[in-house]
């Protein structure tokens, strides 16, 4: 397919699904801005020497008292909010995506094994998934990081926050991938091409890897989309509670936390602008996930 055909195919898909197109465009814009943060941001928010307390709590450009150097104003330390939001989105997305990679790395193999092997292995894995799901992953993550904080102290926790968050959010939510992979594998395993491969003497490992996994990717992509939204939200909640990323390396949740006290002084932008960014990101991912599910689920196809 040449570039023009691809472009027209995308155009047709976008006009058929306007909501998905808007959500996809929003997500792409946010993700690109986050990726290119070091290029776009006027200031490095991690570099304490690059900002000045004298610039603290300036309002955004469009309000009275706004400073042309600071598009979205500054926080209580004089940090440029626009730069902080760009870098914060970058950290939030990084933690979210890496956590989902761990979830998939645990959940997909377990689901494939459960769905293909069946029997006792299947019921054991399904039971484990049920137990894990009945324990709220948000509550588990709060407790795990609270214990880490009480044990390591706030500063050490801050230094290892990214790997710890990725690990905790990653470990707690594998059942969603396992369930989806299991159900899809059961359907796929009964199909002729899999039976043919088995008749030709292919090993179970080869059948699962070559004949089943490639065919169950679309439902897994839907799960991955909504899981990224969940992971970003969990990270934000933990950082808001002071159990995630430290102020020196702020994610969106940390920015919301550090600006929270200022709303009582009428300085709403330090907390609400990162908050709006977070909501825009989550809405885009969730809407895209819903639209993908509708598009890929044949039961929901228009009749």
């Amino acid at each position: 397919m040449n570039a023009r055909a691809v472009r027209s195919a995308i155009g047709a898909a976008a006009s058929d699904h306007p909501v998905a197109a808007v959500a996809g465009f929003m997500l792409a814009a946010i993700a690109l801005a986050a990726l290119a943060a070091p290029l776009i941001a006027p200031q490095n928010p991690f570099d304490l020497a690059s900002f000045d307390v004298l610039d603290a709590e300036l309002p955004p450009l469009w309000l009275q008292g706004g400073d042309p150097r600071f598009l979205l104003g500054t926080d209580s330390q004089g940090r440029d909010l626009f730069s902080a939001i760009l870098y914060g989105t970058r950290i939030s997305l990084t933690v979210g995506v890496l956590a989902v990679v761990i979830q998939a790395a645990i959940g997909v193999p377990l689901g494939l094994i459960a769905g293909y092997a069946g029997g006792r292995v299947d019921s054991l894995i399904a039971r484990l998934a049920d137990i894990q799901l009945s324990l709220s992953s948000l509550m588990l993550a709060i407790i795990a990081l609270a214990l880490a904080r009480a044990g390591l102290g706030g500063e050490t926790l801050g230094r290892f926050a990214v790997p710890l968050l990725v690990l905790v959010i990653g470990l707690a939510e594998w059942p969603f991938f396992a369930r989806t992979a299991r159900a899809a594998t059961q359907v796929e395993a009964a199909k002729d091409h899999v039976r043919a491969a088995r008749a030709l003497g292919a090993s179970s490992a080869r059948i699962v890897a070559r004949h089943i996994l490639p065919n169950i990717l679309s439902p897994l992509i839907v799960v991955a989309t909504t899981q990224v939204a969940g992971a970003v939200m969990t990270e934000a909640a933990l950082s808001f509670l002071g159990l995630g990323l430290p102020v020196t390396q702020p994610s969106l949740g940390t920015l919301i936390r550090s600006g929270y006290d200022l709303i009582f002084a009428g300085i709403w932008w330090v907390t609400l602008l990162p908050g709006l960014t977070l909501v825009a990101l989550l809405v885009a991912v969730n809407v895209l996930g819903d639209e993908l599910r509708d598009a890929l689920d044949p039961r929901l196809a228009p009749r």
């Binding site: 939204a229 929270y260 709303i263 969730n286």
Partner: protein
């Protein structure tokens, strides 16, 4: 006489199987609680050195060893675990470093605040989610249903602490209508401090309760809609319609009644999330409940208070799940305990 006697013995049998079920669930709950207590004991051992808390750093080693012996901290860990569990069974889970009181007492004193917040939010959820979910199921293609579902996607995309901050900004800071933090004036009803009996207490409750309900609403609207859709597609609903029963009667008396069974079962799975969302809401509004207390304990490294919170939360989780199981059983006459229909 014979059929009556038969009916009676059948009923006795059903009662016996019911009791066996309850006993089994209770035994499971006890095992889970034991496991949680062992985890709490391990956390306590890993995190806390009570000696440092009592004596500080600058005390000679001989004196430390003496106190360690006196407190039983030099005993092998199985002995210590047994002592911990024995004391826990009597309700003694240690002394809080911050409050210098029994940790269990400190946490139980905060329970009414959390409970009233959850109760108020649950009432809001019940009165909105039930009609909204039923409406979305019976009129799935209407504009209203699509609007409700679109709003619910928006609802689950806004973190609960942001909803709280937003409501505080608008209603407390900008409009100055409602208080932004604390419980306000409370009245002591015996050991229970309630904020529900004073106007000030109710004003303080409004924003936190609305905040907490906004995160649970979308979940329950979707849950109720899904359960209703399943029932509306079933044969008995079609039969009821064919008989000419009024639509409202079919929806409420036939479909909704049976939809309640999966709603209770799946709703119970949300109890852990509810605890987490309550903790977040309490943090935003500085609501003096159990979650707010837990975070204070974490920042000040009050290890006994942290471990006691784990046990109390575990207990709440186990009790509500067991109750939900029993409730499902009671709602659904088809779940026969001995496997017969």
């Amino acid at each position: 006489m014979a059929p009556l006697a038969g009916g009676l013995s059948n009923r006795m049998q059903a009662l016996a199987t019911g009791l066996t079920f309850l006993a089994k669930r209770a035994a499971q709950a006890v095992v889970v609680m034991l496991a949680i207590a062992v985890i709490a004991f391990a956390v306590k051992g890993a995190l806390g050195d009570p000696l440092r808390e009592i004596m500080g750093e600058a005390v000679p080693e001989a004196e430390r060893a003496a106190l360690r012996h006196e407190l039983g901290l030099d005993a092998p860990w199985p002995t210590q675990l047994a002592r911990y569990l024995g004391a826990a069974a009597k309700g003694d889970l240690g002394q809080s470093y911050i409050y210098k009181r029994s940790t269990l007492e400190v946490i139980v004193a905060k329970f009414p605040a959390s409970f009233e917040l959850v109760l108020a939010a649950s009432l809001i959820v019940l009165f909105i989610a039930l009609p909204a979910g039923v409406y979305c199921a019976v009129r799935p293609r209407s504009f209203g249903a699509k609007l409700i579902l679109a709003l619910s996607v928006l609802g689950i995309s806004i973190p609960v602490f942001l909803t709280g901050i937003f409501l505080i900004t608008v209603f407390s800071v900008w409009l100055g209508l409602l208080p932004a933090f604390g419980r306000g004036e409370t009245v002591a009803l015996g050991p229970w401090d309630t904020g529900l009996l004073t106007l000030d207490g109710l004003e303080h409750l409004l924003l936190p309760a609305v905040t907490l309900s906004t995160i649970m609403l979308p979940l329950f609207i979707r849950l109720i809609r899904g359960a209703m859709l399943d029932q509306l597609g079933s044969d008995y609903v079609r039969t009821a319609r064919a008989k000419g029963a009024a639509p409202l009667r079919v929806w409420l008396n036939h479909a909704l009644r049976n939809a309640l069974i999966p709603i209770v079962a799946l709703g119970a799975l949300q109890i852990g999330n509810l605890l987490a969302f309550t903790l977040l809401t309490e943090t935003v509004f500085q609501w003096p409940g159990m979650g707010f207390l837990f975070l204070e304990a974490v920042t000040r490294a009050d290890v006994p208070l942290i471990t006691t919170y784990l046990i109390v939360v575990g207990l709440l989780f186990v009790v509500t799940n067991t109750l939900a199981d029993v409730l499902s059983l009671w709602l659904d006459p088809r779940i026969s305990l001995d496997g017969r229909r």
